[in-house]
């Protein structure tokens, strides 16, 4: 029978493996795309997965300062997604005003 600390250590090892798989799948979506909002969404998901990583490392090492880093990373991820959404909108407005069609990537 494992003690509590040993069980926690085993659990963090397992979750690090699972999170690595999730990270690889998310990176696959970032590379493949196919459109800009898909990549933005995958970057948002990447931030969530890395947040999970940081929390697992905090539990593993018992160094709770990592928690503040995780919260700060969450804030930065949220703000970057908002900024990217504005960018998608403004790119469309500029191209629309110029009479250009930039959506050949989205129409398959």
């Amino acid at each position: 029978m494992l003690t509590g600390i040993e069980f926690l250590h085993l659990a963090t090892t397992i979750s690090l493996g699972i999170l690595t798989l999730a990270l690889l799948l998310t990176i696959y979506r970032i590379i493949v795309g196919p459109s800009l909002p898909d990549r933005i969404l995958a970057l948002d998901m990447l931030v969530a997965v890395v947040l999970g990583y940081i929390v697992v490392i905090a539990l593993r090492t018992g160094f709770m300062l990592y928690l503040d880093i995780a919260i700060a990373l969450g804030l930065v991820g949220f703000l970057s997604t908002v900024a990217f959404a504005r960018f998608v909108l403004q790119r469309w407005e500029i191209n629309h005003a110029a009479g250009e069609d930039h959506l050949e990537e989205a129409r398959k």
Binding site: T3, G4, I5, F7, L8, L10, A11, T12, I14, S15, L16, I18, L19, L21, A22, L23, L25, T26, Y28, R29, S35, P37, D38, I40, L41, A42, D44, M45, A48, V49, L51, G52, V55, V56, A58, L59, M64, L67, D68, A70, I71, G74, L75, F78, T81, V82, F84, A85, R86, V88, L89, R91, W92, H96, L103, A106
Partner: protein
């Protein structure tokens, strides 16, 4: 004794949270278009991070850490839907349409959105 139980609980929660993150990532890869992928990422992804924060709150035995972890959960549950909604709205206005086979598209009838 109660400390041991909390360690076990935290271990289970962290693995379940990682599994939720894996589900979200799997949904991002497998689902057909941006809007269904968004649904996977913002729901399962937020639950995954929330469970990880909950695990750290259980295993820390420190009031300040528990408070910060709960704040992280609230913050993440607040921001995940907002960012997903903003991105979906921007993408729809910019002309990215759902995949063929979508039955319901309420934004089609909105006047301000150009076709």
């Amino acid at each position: 004794m109660i400390g041991e139980i909390l360690y076990y609980l935290a271990g289970i929660l962290i693995v379940v949270g990682a599994l939720f993150s894996l589900t979200a990532a799997f949904g991002i890869v497998r689902l057909p278009d941006l809007y269904t992928r968004m649904h996977s990422a913002s729901k399962a992804g937020a639950v995954g991070s929330g469970l990880a924060f909950l695990a750290i709150a259980l295993a820390s035995f420190d009031g300040a850490v528990i408070l910060r972890a709960l704040m992280g959960i609230v913050f993440f549950l607040l921001t995940a839907p907002i960012s997903a909604h903003l991105l979906a709205r921007a993408a729809y206005i910019a002309g990215y349409r759902p995949a063929a086979g979508f039955r319901v598209d309420d934004l089609e009838k909105v006047e301000q959105i150009p076709k």
